[in-house]
């Protein structure tokens, strides 16, 4: 939900034990939703990181004496044409939103290194948030269970109080 960033910040100040089971259930549902969103973003980020790391590895395999070396260029995933490496020190990198930049080998490696580090940072940030939310969700569940147990007890007591009256 949209306001969750705000509302969750607020609800951490609110005493959970004072909320009704319905409200707790609502919070729980919202958090479950958020947790699955976070999981999705995490897996997307891991995918991104793998892609960047893959590009970086490909660059690291490049040797300076590969000028004019023959390679096979993929036309489709199953068809290749022979080609030769020219201009070994120029790579065009997609930096997003349709912009491409030309960089030399070192610069390109550096670019992917920075990208991997950046994505890693984001992953760590999100994992932290994920842990916090999981902890909060646990406490919500705990309070909810206590409340449910209390409700069950109350009903049992009521029944016990009613029974002697009926027999009497």
């Amino acid at each position: 939900m949209a306001g969750t960033a705000n509302s969750s910040a607020k609800s951490e100040v609110i005493d959970l034990t004072k909320l009704s089971p319905d409200q707790l259930m609502q919070i729980k549902q919202e958090f479950d939703q958020e947790m699955s969103n976070i999981q999705d973003s995490l897996s997307t980020l891991h995918g991104c990181k793998a892609k960047y790391a893959g590009s970086k590895e490909a660059l690291e395999a490049f040797q300076p004496d590969w000028e004019n070396r023959q390679i096979l260029v993929p036309l489709t995933s199953s068809m290749y044409v022979p080609g030769r490496i020219k201009d070994l020190n120029n790579f065009v990198i997609d930096i997003g939103t349709g912009y491409y930049i030309e960089k030399d080998l070192e610069g390109s490696k550096d670019y992917f290194k920075r990208r991997v580090e950046y994505v890693q940072e984001q992953i760590e940030k999100i994992e932290k948030i994920h842990m916090q939310k999981a902890r909060f969700l646990n406490s919500v569940m705990g309070v909810l269970e206590v409340k449910q147990a209390a409700a069950v007890k109350m009903i049992q007591q009521q029944q016990q109080q009613q029974q002697p009256k009926q027999t009497a």
Partner: protein
């Protein structure tokens, strides 16, 4: 409670619930839109960071359809900067709509619970 007022109360409740559900739907839409804007903003910021790291000897291209067209570095910087400004504005306005939507939703929710209470009171008195 006679039949007429019960029907009237039920109808009021129904309209409130419908309004609430409608708002909820559009709320989801706005949230999606906002998420998209946020990711675009992020991407543009990354691009600008990268462009700012470039020196005068680096060449910049922009993809138009299937063609890469060479761009001036300074122009690209300004373009991306403008785009970031625009997206931030859009993001702000969608945040505002979201806020007012949530307020409206809250109002409708309260109205529904009020009618539910009336209903229960009326049912208890019967």
């Amino acid at each position: 409670m006679d039949k007429n007022s019960a029907a009237a109360l039920y109808k009021k409740m129904q309209t409130e619930v419908e309004a609430y559900q409608g708002l909820q739907k559009s709320c989801v839409k706005v949230v999606k839109q906002r998420a998209m804007l946020e990711s675009q903003l992020n991407e543009n910021k990354c691009v600008l960071d990268e462009l700012n790291l470039l020196g005068a000897d680096n060449k910049v291209y922009k993809l138009f359809g299937p063609v890469l067209v060479k761009q001036e570095l300074e122009d690209s910087r300004q373009n991306v900067g403008k785009r970031i400004e625009y997206i931030s504005k859009e993001l702000n306005s969608s945040n505002n709509t979201l806020e007012s939507m949530e307020k409206d939703m809250h109002k409708h929710r309260e109205a529904v619970s009020k009618y539910q209470q009336q209903w229960q009171v009326a049912a208890a008195m019967k």
